[in-house]
């Protein structure tokens, strides 16, 4: 089936997630959709699969204009999407999941479905036991189940959102073989990814999104360099880095290992000096978030030691870390950082050491007003935090931090903020560094990483580079490492 997207626009509040995107995908092709986090890939795919409606624009399937009302409607029209986290029902059996999306009828027609399931599985050489429970399957196998299900429901356009995250190399081979087979059968396959090597190995056509716009298309043969340039823009002048004075080491990681259900980060050793800024680069879910939370004491490590100051804090809770002067600022400000429904004054009172049993409201209000002025927060002490804009919420979070701090961990400190707020926030962070606070931060903005870090760690599916002096890095080099290429040079250079 041929897919055409015409002039697709979508805004979320002030964010223009898709800006007039035009893209044609002929039947029988594997189309790569490439872009950084937040480039608008997911939004575009959600529009096509009926999860959200575009503000403007048209979708044509086989030259016929269609309106897609819901995911169920999408599959009726032949469009199926495979999500990054499989949307299945772990406590149920494989065959029940397979049947679930079927339309109409009280009886499920188990017997027929079983035969169809076996036939399809054979066709793609997937070995799935229809009676196994889904929670006993690996992510890769759950993907296979989802592919079979969508095809059985009649999907002729298949969208894969970051399908290679969290699956084994062997499963990836199988997946790619299946995708090629789908294309041979005349289906349109959309492969959304930020991994250059996967896109290169698979896609004949590539479209690159950046900041909501389609910035370029490439047909094979194309080079990595072309794609990286399109993804991150041409080299942009990076201002002076103004490195901070580096005192003795304050944090030492010794062979630290941490893992979650899909990722392992193993044997990382790192010494962080006082006042140093370390940027953690990598595409979302490459392990940098897990790593950061482990050093903050929010995720238990599975091996190695974490030493902060001169205390071994391995295995201690976040609150113990906090007492040692560690602070963590999460990316999701309203979900994890602030308490919706409480006012700024109430937040400042909570953030300070509680003195006495009763709250001194007048003092709290004065403190709030002072910090609001200091940090340029546009709001009053009586405002609830959810009524503030994103930039002001981030300023408020910074204003809530206690002084002094040994170490500050930030997840995407300036995501979604305008340039003015970004510069302001980093100037405040740099002030902290001058006073000896070390900063570790995760960001998907490569310029931000290069601009503000003294050293950089790059993450790719759980692998970590040794600390790289950011002065020796370029955006292109960083982009390659993030996409998983150029790692061989790194190790050979290190061993040399």
């Amino acid at each position: 089936m041929k897919v055409e997207l015409k002039d697709i626009h979508k805004t979320f509040g002030a964010v223009h997630a898709n800006v007039g995107i035009n893209l044609t995908i002929p039947a029988g092709t594997i189309q790569g959709i490439l872009g950084e986090n937040g480039a608008g890939k997911s939004t575009l795919m959600k529009v096509l699969s009926g999860f959200i409606r575009a503000d403007r624009g048209e979708i044509l399937l086989d030259d016929r204009p269609v309106i897609i009302h819901s995911p169920a409607d999408a599959i009726r029209q032949g469009v199926g999407m495979l999500h990054q986290d499989p949307l299945d029902f772990p406590p149920m059996r494989v065959i029940d999941n397979f049947i679930l999306g079927q339309e109409g009828g009280l009886l499920t027609g188990q017997v027929d479905a079983r035969q169809d399931f076996k036939k399809l599985a054979e066709q793609f050489s997937f070995s799935l036991d229809p009676d196994a429970y889904v929670d006993s399957l690996t992510i890769g196998e759950r993907q296979q189940l989802e592919i079979l299900r969508l095809i059985w429901l009649g999907a002729r356009v298949l969208i894969f959102d970051e399908p290679t995250t969290g699956i084994s190399a062997a499963q990836k081979e199988k997946l790619f073989a299946a995708l090629r087979l789908l294309a041979e059968q005349g289906k349109a396959v959309l492969f959304v990814s930020h991994k250059l090597e996967d896109v290169e190995g698979l896609c004949t056509h590539v479209a690159v999104l950046r900041q909501g716009q389609l910035v370029g298309e490439a047909k094979s043969p194309y080079t990595t360099k072309q794609l990286v340039e399109m993804m991150f823009g041409k080299a942009i002048s990076v201002g002076d880095r103004n490195p901070c004075g580096k005192s003795d080491r304050v944090i030492s990681l010794q062979n630290m290992s941490v893992e979650d259900y899909r990722l392992k980060v193993q044997n990382v050793s790192l010494d962080v000096r006082g006042g140093e800024v370390i940027g953690l680069a990598g595409m979302e879910g490459s392990g940098q978030g897990l790593f950061l939370r482990a050093i903050a004491g929010m995720v238990r490590t599975v091996g190695g030691r974490i030493i902060i100051g001169d205390r071994d804090l391995t295995g201690r809770s976040y609150h113990t870390f906090k007492k040692q002067g560690v602070a963590f600022l999460p990316a999701s400000r309203l979900e994890e950082g602030l308490v919706p429904g409480l006012t700024l004054t109430e937040h400042f009172i909570m953030a300070e050491e509680a003195k006495g049993f009763f709250i001194n409201w007048e003092k709290g209000r004065q403190l709030a007003q002072k910090r609001i002025n200091d940090f340029n927060v546009r709001g009053t002490p009586e405002n609830t935090v959810e009524s503030l804009s994103g930039g002001n919420q981030q300023r408020a979070l910074l204003a809530l931090l206690r002084d002094p701090l040994t170490m500050l961990m930030l997840e995407h400190p300036t995501r979604g903020l305008d340039i003015e707020s970004t510069i302001y926030i980093w100037s405040r962070l740099k002030e902290r560094c001058q006073k000896g606070t070390s900063i570790l931060f995760v960001s998907s903005d490569l310029e931000e990483i290069l601009q503000y870090s003294d050293r950089v760690l790059v993450f790719f599916s759980g692998k970590v580079t040794p600390p790289l002096e950011s002065a020796t890095l370029t955006i292109e080099k960083l982009g390659e490492l993030i996409g998983g290429s150029g790692w061989a040079d790194l190790t050979s250079r290190k061993s040399a």
Partner: protein, 345 residues
């Protein structure tokens, strides 16, 4: 801001009228003249001094359960188990009184110990629901509901088993205590100023706890966003657990008061729905402790007043419950509608 407040009040008054309208239709359908029925509720509640006493006697346990659930609601917990916690308060109080009634201890001390025992009993029962929630991942609604059934069974077992009256056990409860173990009441009435005083004290304490203390603020933060509260340094599960303990202690106090000042014995269904009614009051006042006393009083008056409906019109006295439930339902519904239609205001 001002406009917002008026819209709020408008929706609440609207809900009240709608609740009255539906109740009126139900009265008509049941064959009772609505206006006269309302008049009889009113006279049933305030027609005589005796009736007002009855209201005050009902008010006291209701205030305590409301105070308790205000604490757990602030922590984001639905403590449905409050009925059981009240029952365990009654059981523990009865147990302490039975244990000490034949000793040489002064009666006043025995009563105080009994009341204290009731609070401990309620807190212990609440801590079970809390532990199930915190360590076992059992939703407090299910845990609490299950424990309510267990508490009922325990009462029946005690009344017909180990604590049965001399001779044969009966649904009317255990052997009443000697009058010296009764909480002092006003002469010629069953109204105990001690019970009323304790209840009012508790609701005032809860008001200040939630309004003006670090503990209350952190509890609210845990209720509204546990993740952020944790990051800000609040030990979240300890706070949840403490909210359960506090609520259980208040519910236990309420049960102990029923034993020491109203029934003077343990009987089945001693919690009498006050726990659930307290939940309704807390929802109706949108968790603002300031309004707990008047609204609980209003509910108590409805309960007492509607007894007249049964006498005069042979309607079931649970008609008060219908009006109360409708009121809560419609106020919540109105709140939902307001948020939907006036989101931008």
């Amino acid at each position: 801001m001002k406009k917002n407040a008026w819209i709020n009040i408008g929706f609440q008054v609207g809900a009240l009228f709608l609740a009255l309208l539906i109740t009126t239709l139900l009265l008509v359908a049941a064959g009772a003249p609505p206006l006269k029925a309302y008049a009889s509720i009113l006279s049933g509640a305030f027609g005589s001094l005796n009736n007002v006493e009855q209201i005050l006697i009902t008010w006291s346990p209701l205030l305590l359960t409301t105070a308790g659930v205000l604490i757990t609601f602030s922590a984001g917990l639905w403590n449905i188990g409050i009925e059981g916690q009240m029952t365990l308060g009654a059981i523990f109080a009865t147990g302490v009184l039975r244990l000490l009634q034949n000793t040489q201890l002064p009666a006043a001390l025995i009563i105080i110990l009994g009341i204290f025992g009731g609070m401990v009993g309620g807190a212990v029962w609440a801590s079970l629901a809390g532990a199930l929630k915190t360590f076992g991942g059992v939703n407090e609604i299910f845990g609490g509901l299950g424990l309510n059934f267990v508490s009922t069974a325990l009462t029946i077992y005690l009344v017909f088993g180990p604590w049965k009256r001399p001779g044969v056990g009966s649904m009317s409860g255990t052997q009443p205590f000697d009058q010296k173990l009764w909480l002092p009441t006003l002469p010629h009435t069953e109204l105990s100023l001690w019970a009323l005083g304790m209840s009012l004290l508790v609701i005032v304490v809860v008001f200040f706890l939630l309004r003006g203390t670090h503990f209350g603020l952190r509890l609210k933060a845990v209720g509204k966003n546990p993740k952020a509260a944790f990051l800000m340094g609040v030990p979240t599960w300890q706070y949840s657990m403490f909210a359960f303990l506090l609520c259980g202690a208040f519910a236990g106090l309420s049960g102990a008061i029923q034993v020491t000042s109203v029934y003077h014995r343990l009987l089945p269904n001693i919690s009498n729905g006050y726990g659930f009614l307290g939940l309704l009051v807390a929802m109706l006042i949108n968790y603002q402790a300031l309004w707990a006393a008047p609204i609980a009083f209003f509910f108590a008056a409805l309960n007492i007043g509607s007894v007249q409906l049964q006498i005069q019109y042979k309607l079931d006295s649970s008609f008060a419950g219908v009006l109360q439930d409708l009121l809560v339902l419609l106020v919540l519904l109105g709140e939902g509608a307001r948020q939907r239609f006036f989101r931008k205001v």
